[in-house]
Each structure stands twice: as C-alpha cells, then as structure tokens.
C-alpha cells in the first residue's frame, strides 16, 4: 500500500535519466564529507592526525559539519530509495546498510560523543571506541556499494 503511494515519487525520480545519478552524487559526497569529519575525531582518539587539539575540540569543531553532511545523506537517501522501493527492500546489501547506518548514527551520538568529549578517558577506551566507529561507518559504505552487486 505504501509502495503504491510512493509510485508518484518514483515516476518523478525516474522521469529523467540523470535525476538518480545526480541525487547519488549528493548522497555519496555528503557521506564522504560526514565520515571524513567523524574519522578526524577517530584518528585523534587513536593518537594520530590533529594532535595539537584535544579530542573534545576536534569533535566540537567538526560536529556541525558532520551534521550538515548527515542531513544531506538523510534527504538524498530516501529519494534514491523511493525510485525503486520494492527492489531496495529485497536487496540484502541495502538492508545491511540500513542496520549498519542506524547502529553507526546511534553509536556516534551516544558512546562516541561521550568518549570524545571527555578528554580524560583512557587510551584503551579511546582506541576501542574509535575502531568501532570506523568499522561501523566502513560497513555502511560497503553495504551501499554492494547494493549494485546484490
């Protein structure tokens, strides 16, 4: 039922050959943008990259840009999805990507933020948090990439 209602949106998206690729460009660029910002915090937690600033400062300076990128991701993503909703729902890579994305966003704004904000956390904790964060975001990217091959 929901799928039938979205047909109008799908038609609009599929009306021009280049609407989908252009939306995809925004989606991919925004993902690269946000994950790059998050990675800068993770690298700081791991002990390389921007070492002259505290983790909390790196987080503070990147957070607005991370959010901006994620906003573009979450606007362009549903557009891409609605172009062929049925296909995506049956695509295991897409389903994987959605779970990974939910986990990554949740982790980013809870544990990740908490550890990055506390400049007193131990290196062990920092390393674990940074590695988990990087692995989650890489999973999202790989899930997205393999949608086309599933």
């Amino acid at each position: 039922m929901l799928l039938i209602q979205t047909n109008a949106i799908a038609d609009a998206l599929n009306s021009s050959e280049w609407v989908f690729p252009i939306a995809e460009c925004f989606h991919i660029t925004a993902f690269a943008w946000s994950i790059g910002m998050i990675a800068a915090v993770d690298y700081r937690l791991l002990g390389f990259g921007i070492q002259h600033s505290k983790p909390s400062e790196v987080l503070r300076d990147t957070a607005p840009w991370t959010l901006l990128g994620l906003a573009v991701v979450l606007l362009s993503g549903p557009l891409l999805f609605l172009s062929d909703a049925r296909m995506y729902l049956h695509n295991p890579s897409f389903v994987f990507k959605m779970y990974a994305l939910a986990a990554a966003i949740l982790f980013n704004y809870t544990i990740h933020r908490k550890i990055a904000q506390s400049d007193a956390s131990s290196q062990g904790v920092r390393t674990v948090v940074a590695v988990v964060s990087l692995l989650l975001w890489v999973s999202v990217v790989f899930g997205g990439l393999f949608i086309a091959f599933a």
């Binding site: 690729p21 995809e24 460009c25 991919i28 660029t29 690269a32 086309a148």
Partner: protein, 108 residues
C-alpha cells in the same frame, strides 16, 4: 579494476574526465605548494586564513567532489565499442571479415 574492463574504461567519457581531474589535483598541489602547503606554520600565525589558502582549499574540495561524481558516472554510460571497432578497421578491404567478426556478439 581498470584491468578488468580496460577498453570500456578507456573510451568512457566519465573515466577520462576523472583521470584528468586527478591530474589537476596534482597541478593544484604544485601551484599552491610554495604559497600554502610548504609553510603551514605561517597559516597559524596569520590572524585570518589568507585568500590563497582558501582558494587552494576550495579548488581541492571542488576537484575531489567532481572526481567522486565522475566515478559514479562511469557506470551510467557505455561507450559504443562496436562502432569504435568498426571505425578502426579499414572498411573497404575487409568488409567481409567485419560482418563475420561483428555477427558473433561477445558482450561481457
């Protein structure tokens, strides 16, 4: 990845643009090397970020975003290899052979 479908990539307009833009990244680095990248300590001392550093950053971002988009575009177009091959062969002398070679379609 290029090796897997070398000929398709070679004739793909997006692939060619992507390579040119990658070369331009190198050009950008060289152009701004002396004024921006060679002495980052000078940027720290400046009260505001100098114009040429901002310009270098803007060009760099634009180039990398364009590279990502061109990379995405590669998959959306297919160079007409049949036509390209046909043009490469001397048409007048080998017309018979062309028909034979092109009748068996070998698409990957």
């Amino acid at each position: 990845m290029f090796g897997s479908k070398a000929e398709e990539y070679y004739y793909n307009a997006f692939f060619r643009t992507k390579l040119i833009l990658l070369a331009l990244v190198l050009v950008q680095e060289l152009v701004f090397y002396r004024s921006v990248y060679a002495n980052p300590a000078a940027l720290d001392q400046a009260p505001t970020v100098p114009g040429n550093a901002k310009l270098a950053a803007a060009i760099s971002l634009l180039l990398w975003i364009s590279i990502a988009c061109c990379g995405r575009g590669i998959g959306y177009i297919e160079p007409p290899l049949d036509k390209i091959h046909a043009q490469m062969l001397p048409r007048s002398t080998y017309e018979g052979e062309i028909t034979i070679c092109c009748s068996s379609k070998q698409t990957p």
